[in-house]
């Protein structure tokens, strides 16, 4: 059943966000620390565990895949609700601080990626299959 997959996804998210809130309180910051990341880890673990097999395969898995495919549309909606006016109105200081921070961070990606074991590039995307996986 599709709802089983969606429910598993929801339970992972709630537990993750709750853990993130607890972590935030423990280290004394007013933010959720890694809640979404913890939720993702839980989902990855559930997907690879035989106990949850019936919740992640077949129709149940389709319930998770649907939300995964809705990711880009949700990001488009997210873009449409950003406070772009405030970013533009911040003037030169905000523009420079934001832009240089991004450029320097971009430049650091290949530098830090060289540390540790490397992973292979993903195979090219098959355009026709996109949105389905």
């Amino acid at each position: 059943m599709i709802i089983y997959g969606v429910a598993l996804l929801s339970v992972c998210m709630v537990i993750g966000l709750f853990t993130g809130e607890i972590l935030g309180v423990l280290i004394g910051v007013q933010a959720n620390v890694g809640g979404v990341g913890i939720a993702m880890l839980l989902l990855v673990l559930a997907c690879s565990h035989p106990m949850f097999k019936s919740l992640t395969e077949g129709a149940s898995g389709a319930g998770i895949k649907f939300w995964s495919a809705m990711y880009i549309p949700i990001v488009v909606a997210m873009a449409a609700r950003q406070n772009v006016v405030a970013a533009v109105d911040g003037g030169m200081l905000a523009l420079l601080a934001g832009t240089i921070a991004v450029l320097v961070s971009f430049a650091l990606v290949p530098v830090i990626s060289k540390i540790g074991p490397q992973s292979d590039p993903l195979p090219p995307i098959d355009e026709s299959a996109k949105g389905e996986d």
């Binding site: 995964s68 950003q82 772009v84 405030a86 832009t99 320097v104 990606v109």
Partner: protein, 256 residues
Amino acid sequence: MDITIELLEKVFSRNGLIVAFAAVGLITWFSYFLSNKLTHGRIHGSAIAITLGLVAAYIGGKATGGSTGVADIGLLAGVGFMGGGMMRDFAIVSTAFGVHIGELKKAGIVGIVSIFAGVIVSFIVGAVVAVMFGYTDAISITTIGAGAVTYIVGPVTGTAIGASSDVIALSVAAGLVKSILVMIGTPMVAKYIGLNNPQSAMVFGGLMGTTSGVAGGLAATDPRLVPYGAMTATFYTGVGCLMGPSILFLIVNAIY
């Protein structure tokens, strides 16, 4: 005629989320149309859709004076819900379906290194720019530096150390510029910074940190990289909020 418009408004406002699905579907269709016809697929349809979303957000913000872009226009309020934190996080978590746990382990340490490097580097850039613009007090310099980390770290830090509200507003603006630029710029630079595998995506997420920026930027580059980037980015704001008002403020305070 008037009654038709009235009824239409009623249906739109009562079914906001559904209207949002239709509106986003239309934007996406139009974007892929532009991508194929004008750029022959060179610029990704999703990159165009995200950019159009940002343009619409600017227009919406200018028209209404609100702070949530298109969502401040009554008829499109549902876009605010669809693109809000809850749906965004839910969709991000779902992308972890099918992630290879081996790839996560491989990049574990590098991911952590990238988070700290990202927070510190962005902070330094923001602080230096603040000094260039004539700020000389440690509180303002720290707050603007924290804003360059993310638009959440800026106000959290500024409030904690007692910055003035205009400096906090500046720090939010710097963080917004960063977030928007990551959304638009990532697909353009992906090729040059080796952003084509899970490991570099985790480093990318850790360095950039802005959840919205990373989510949008990777979506427009290669959706398969999203879970890896999102995984590290989600810890970034927490680390930033931890370091901003404490160690980073103390260091700036010692210098000024």
